[in-house]
């Protein structure tokens, strides 16, 4: 019988490196290198009409980003969209998860029903809601309102369009938030609720004093991913409004595609991308900091 050699501390590191290497190489090639190129192009005069002889233009492209009303509108709309969607997803998902964590007969069915919209692509959801919210005679909601003798609603005016899109996304993604919360809820020890019962806590007190503080990790996941995903929204806007009417629902990604790619202003698009990266970085940092403080306060 051969005696197994004892590994020294840190000896396994080289094996880990070998396993990590393929992912690292792919990450460097497909994420880091393009990002560095984007930063480089943002300081040049790279356009579709000037694809080769690039010149350094300093901060010109960055000034242009902040002088272009369309780009500022896009940033504003993306922030509104991200905050509203994340807010509603967080607030509505939690009570839904708490209810569906109870011993209901239809619990599994209801969980599936609420999660179901998240299974579909946002493009499909967009085209579907397009018909539901249409102001033509074939629009489901307006048809119903008309049948009931009520005034019809135009969901796609410049004032309503962004909120109409947000509404569909709350419908689609609240179920996803619910599932994350459910996973967290099921990890909370029943002993804590028993102790609270012995102390005579009411249901509301138990929610705010036991459940909510212990939900911090899942809230953090939903808020951070929701905000970052919301800032990057593209597909649902593309399928529902294409940024219109006018520029009412233009978002960062829509404008980046249009200006930075279709119109051939590659360097301005790059500068816009870098600015967007900084904004997302700042938002993520602030949110992570706030959530960290909440976490510390609980402990």
């Amino acid at each position: 019988m051969t005696k197994k050699r004892k590994l020294r501390p840190g000896e396994l590191g080289k094996y880990f490196m070998i396993f990590i290497l393929p992912a690292l190489v792919i990450y460097l090639i497909f994420s880091i290198a393009p990002f560095l190129y984007t930063i480089f192009y943002s300081f040049t005069d790279y356009t579709d009409m000037n694809p080769v002889n690039l010149h350094f233009v300093g901060l010109k492209n960055y000034f242009k980003v902040f002088e272009t009303p369309l780009m500022l509108t896009a940033i504003e709309n993306s922030v509104i969209y991200a905050i509203l969607l994340t807010g509603f997803q967080t607030v509505l998902g939690l009570p839904l998860a708490v209810i569906l964590n109870k011993k209901l007969k239809t619990r599994n069915l209801l969980r599936a029903v609420f999660f179901f919209p998240a299974v579909f692509s946002s493009l499909i959801i967009g085209y579907l809601w397009n018909f539901i919210m249409s102001s033509s005679d074939f629009g489901l909601i307006n048809n119903l309102l008309h049948q009931l003798g009520m005034d019809t609603v135009n969901f796609f005016t410049s004032d309503n369009a962004l909120y109409s899109v947000v509404l569909t996304q709350i419908w689609q993604w609240t179920g996803w938030g619910m599932v994350i919360y459910l996973a967290n809820l099921q990890s909370i020890s029943p002993d804590l609720y028993e102790a609270a019962d012995i102390d005579g806590a009411t249901g509301i007190q138990k929610f705010f004093r036991v459940t909510l503080p212990l939900m911090c990790p899942s809230v953090k996941i939903i808020v951070v991913t929701g905000l970052i995903g919301g800032m990057k929204v593209f597909d649902i806007i593309y399928s529902m409004t294409s940024g219109g009417p006018g520029d009412a629902t233009q978002t960062v990604m829509m404008v980046m595609m249009k200006k930075g790619i279709s119109d051939g202003f590659y360097s301005t698009g790059s500068a816009f991308g870098v600015c967007f990266f900084v904004i997302v970085l700042l938002i993520s940092a602030v949110v992570t900091k706030l959530m960290g403080k909440w976490s510390e306060a609980i402990q």
């Binding site: 009409m49 249409s134 033509s136 629009g139 005016t157 294409s242 009417p245 119109d263």
Partner: protein
């Protein structure tokens, strides 16, 4: 032992997979790599499979394989491709559909990497851009067979860089039955058109179905009016040229015409509600008889008639304030160009020569019925659904204003978007036009 055997088997499978994945089989070489050989290889009768420019034909002869890109589906050029197969037997045209929304980006990238298609379908704006960048070969000799109206938008620096395809046009489809039943005559002026719309409103029939969720309907409708009123006159004929040279602006020139056209909004024909309706839904309203008119072109005719085979439809032109033959918005559907860096330029030219015949144009027209050819001597019968625009087409009153904007042609989308904002009351005409001018200036200075 068993574990070792499994791991040896898995390793062997991985190695085989890697080797076969990295290898180049003959079918792959046949199907994709059309530009890798040299020009001489492209015309030689003997080539290896890996050179990729040759295909052994069924009869044993060699074929030069060339790639052609287009933003419309293969169905729209099916007859043409069949015709080319017979007419140019030594060339195999591999058709590649690229979705319109990505078309320019994909083709630009391929061309800048010198891996572009051999034959490129170009819009006037992209043809101008690619000609300036030296991506396109001049086709002056073949271009001479076409009318100036078709080739002028594909000309740069005295050379023709693309051959005009079958023209597209957009007018106003109308429900003949509704007009006849209510004894409403076709309008011949803009004011009469407004009166007709009001009459339908009084009858509780929606006069015009419009999917204003898209920026296109108001763009085309308003530009058709400006064309009839100004761009087609002696005063306005040079506007397109002046505009692309930065010597004119929309604001200050088009305002009065658009103020008049905005009766379409003030009279409730275009309503803010329509921004909640898309093109397909508007088409549905028209096809099911809920609306009397719908602005579109031949590409929608089949869909309309398939939704309601009993619908009797015709098309009327857009009108200005004075009676005329009317105007349609339209122009060359696509320009067919040859990639300057193509390794198979001779083969591509053969294809363009075959298209530049009456038979070639007929094959092209077959799947684009309603449009007309710019080739001298190529005339085709107009389908029944366009009887009321026959005079307009015969008069050559088909015009697309933004085709004249050169490198800023893409700003027509901005115009449509700004018109949406105008409809929704967010800005006046002057602001609308200023915003378009700003975009055009930015594009021209690129």
């Amino acid at each position: 032992m068993k574990k070792k055997l499994v791991s040896v088997l898995l390793c062997a499978m991985m190695v085989v997979g890697m080797v076969s994945g990295c290898g180049k089989n003959s079918s792959e070489a046949d199907s994709g790599k059309t530009n890798e050989g040299t020009e001489s290889e492209g015309t030689e009768s003997k080539g290896t499979e890996s050179e990729g420019t040759k295909n052994e034909g069924e009869a044993g002869g060699d074929k030069t394989k060339i790639r052609m890109t287009y933003w419309n589906s293969e169905d729209t050029v099916k007859t043409l491709l069949d015709y080319l197969k017979e007419e140019v037997p030594d060339v195999e045209v591999e058709f590649q559909f690229i979705d319109n929304s990505n078309y320019d980006t994909v083709v630009d990238t391929q061309l800048s990497a010198e891996e572009g298609p051999d034959i490129i379908c170009e819009s006037p704006a992209s043809a101008l851009k690619h000609a300036r960048l030296g991506y396109l070969a001049e086709v002056n000799d073949l271009g001479a067979k076409y009318s100036d109206a078709g080739t002028s938008v594909y000309s740069y620096d005295g050379n023709i860089y693309a051959l005009p395809g079958i023209s597209w046009f957009e007018g106003i489809y109308y429900n003949k039955q509704l007009f006849e039943d209510n004894q409403i005559a076709l309008p011949t002026t803009f004011d009469e058109y407004i009166a007709v719309c009001k009459k339908f409103q009084e009858l509780d029939i929606k006069p015009l179905a419009a999917g204003l969720k898209s920026w296109e309907p108001m763009l085309k409708n308003s530009m058709a009016f400006v064309t009839a009123e100004y761009l087609s006159t002696d005063e306005g004929k040079s506007f397109g040229e002046d505009y692309r040279n930065g010597e004119a602006t929309l604001d200050g020139t088009w305002n009065s015409y658009l103020e008049k056209w905005s009766e379409m909004i003030s009279e409730g024909i275009y309503t803010t509600d329509m921004t909640g309706t898309d093109h397909d839904q508007a088409l549905e309203e028209f096809a099911t008889g809920k609306a009397a008119m719908f602005c579109s072109g031949p590409w929608d005719l089949e869909t309309i008639t398939s939704k309601n085979p009993d619908l009797k439809i015709d098309m009327m032109p857009f009108n200005g304030t004075k009676a005329s033959d009317g105007w349609l918005i339209g122009g060359p559907g696509c320009g067919i160009a040859i990639n300057e860096s193509s390794k198979n330029k001779e083969a591509a030219k053969k294809v363009l020569e075959a298209i530049s015949t009456v038979e070639g144009q007929k094959a092209f027209w077959q799947d684009n019925q309603g449009g007309s050819s710019y080739l001298d001597g190529a005339e085709f019968e107009l389908p029944e659904a366009y009887t009321s625009v026959a005079k307009t087409l015969a008069a050559g009153n088909v015009y697309c204003p933004w085709n004249e904007w050169g490198g800023a042609a893409g700003a027509h989308e901005k115009y449509g978007i700004e018109m949406q904002s105008y409809l929704l009351g967010q800005q006046d005409i002057s602001q609308t036009l200023q915003n378009v001018d700003a975009e055009v200036k930015e594009l021209l200075e690129k």
